[in-house]
Symmetry: C2
Subunit: 427 residues, 2 copies
Amino acid sequence: MATKFEAEYVVTMDDERRQYHPGVIVYDEREIVYVGSPQGYQEPVDREIVIPEGIILPGLLNGHNHAAMSLMRGLADDSPLFEWLSQYVWPLEEHLTPEDIEVGTLLACAEMIRSGTVGFADMYFEVDISAKAVDMAGMRAWIARGLDRADTKKLEESVEFCQAWRGHGHGRIETMLGPHAPYTCPPEFLAQVASAAQTYQLPIHIHLSESRDEMRQMAEQYHKTPIQVAYDAGILASRTLIAHGVYIEEADLKYLEQMEGGVVSCPISNAKLGNGTLPYHRLRNAGVAVGLGTDGAASTNSLDMFLEMKAMAWMQKLKEGKPEGFRAEDALWAATRGTAQILGHRGGVLQPGAPADFIVVDGRRAHMTPTWDVVANLVYAASGSDVRYCVVDGQIILQEGIITSFDERAVLQEAAARAQRLMERGR
Amino acid sequence: MATKFEAEYVVTMDDERRQYHPGVIVYDEREIVYVGSPQGYQEPVDREIVIPEGIILPGLLNGHNHAAMSLMRGLADDSPLFEWLSQYVWPLEEHLTPEDIEVGTLLACAEMIRSGTVGFADMYFEVDISAKAVDMAGMRAWIARGLDRADTKKLEESVEFCQAWRGHGHGRIETMLGPHAPYTCPPEFLAQVASAAQTYQLPIHIHLSESRDEMRQMAEQYHKTPIQVAYDAGILASRTLIAHGVYIEEADLKYLEQMEGGVVSCPISNAKLGNGTLPYHRLRNAGVAVGLGTDGAASTNSLDMFLEMKAMAWMQKLKEGKPEGFRAEDALWAATRGTAQILGHRGGVLQPGAPADFIVVDGRRAHMTPTWDVVANLVYAASGSDVRYCVVDGQIILQEGIITSFDERAVLQEAAARAQRLMERGR
């Protein structure tokens, strides 16, 4: 079935950064067949949706999340990091039931769909449950079970999970191995994970170079940077998604230049926890892909990638000390093609043959008026609340602000009730 | 006429930081008469509005704006600063008509009302027109005409404007003198402005210590910091609103400690232009009030104070290098009581006797669920688009998402058309 969307602007993010004003996008089943001016496509379609003041752009791809942690949004913010983890997050995680994980994941999906995210890379536990929830929500996800210590049983189960779910739903659900970080996984275990990744051809999702403490600890224990620890264990020989990368040094670049994958920046989390700002130009100049992610809502409080794009641009300009230090388009690239490139996904762009994953933003709100530059408006002025349509794999999962794939209201009520119970149990 | 609002939470921002859950606020004409639990107020009212999932908080106060510049939102972002000013902003400003100023100001008012701002300090030209527009929009404003070079005629006209408009609309419109900055106003002229401020008992609004260039220029020209230049000219002897204050040094504190007024931080503008981050703790430890402002939408792109609160918290935590370096409540304080204190305004707080200026935020959206901490949700998760009601001086100017004081749709269309004409004239 062919569907046509027509809007005031289409921002393709293709290699030539083409924009159409006005523009249309046509897709058939799960694939885009045309992007261009309205005049350029005269064939009949089965369904036509016109949003006169809309802006069509690729659906955003959140490169780092712990979706179910949305249930802990706002829990003891502003506390010192170790106190936050040891007194609040970890004790609460011990009480989490599989149903909590399901509801927390759906809560995250609701927020992401509403704010224009079509897919995300996730790391948490109870992955069978979250895979099922994401599948129902109609989103894309790259799901990894978090692995730590030297838990080989978990690694085996993780491989089983990956094999069972990879490519599910015409490829909407993909899987990864998720060794948490070099300070929670010993090098021998990292090597085991790396070996499994090679054997089963699985990509890897890992936290690296996030904090000063991590840098110091790796230097003391191994006389290495976290990137070097990962490299030496073979972790960078597979397609690997590195989350954070705040403290990547010049000396690390030789380990990254040849890798598949890349680094997902999480600027809000990195600022809010006081960690720092990823060296964007150092990485890009070395040819390393940089994507964008929110981290979990327990630390970032929001899964809105429009907010994350703003934060990325502001932090990078602040780091560079000049307005021309980073462009709006760089942020939009990271949130679409950057994350896609790291994941080896052919989305994040509007062009024939790409998956029908796109969103429509309302362009005629006060804060989006006037339009000198549509990309500047999207990155610096839009908020996730401006998203009116979200289309994933050809399915309209947000239609005029209504989530069509599940009962959002029920999920929000259930999430509020479950958080209340967790609060009471915690006392 | 007494009106009662009831909601799930009331966040008062009073000296004891009282919160009510659920809570009500009652006001009579222009003044709050009760804030507390629903049980605590049993008297009959003329009108009652219940928002079961709402959060009532003080209306936000934007301490630094150039409202009419909203017409230039997104104009040549990411350009080097001098190129942006000299090739884009200044040439365009030469073409601005009084009608452009009117429409630009109303566009800014629409965005501010929608995102929960009840009042703002403004500096621009054609102030009679902007005062009239703000008055019609039903907002509060502290309006200053920007003064530069040694234009004494403008200073005289500015004093006339201030005298004519001060206290207009039961005090909704207040006026200030607006010497632009020490790099655009020579010291003798600053002294003239300071003297006029004393004579006519007018507060002052000035840009100080915003950029490295300004610091260098003041050091070269006067061997002083910008704060010292202002102090020596007598500018700090009146109630003075200092915008930016990024580079305030220890040695400056002695000039600030005794002043009325304080410093309005503009974290998004300061990051986006690559300037830096205000030394919050240095100022607060010296007892200096710190408020919050957006700067004009030409540089910040957004007038959403919820976004500005996030940016303030993130930048300060980044500067401090730890999550506990700044608290959500500090940002909400700056955006309400901080700006109010600087302006000598008794708003920014919900308590009997305060002006009936408040907003209602929708608390049951996906990104606001669950509620571990209502202030954390407001600062870290809410966006301006979550504001459902905006009440200023007892008038409901945003009602269930509809602006009641003027025809928003017409303003947006007119703003888009005028920007289009400015684009064409600029070519």
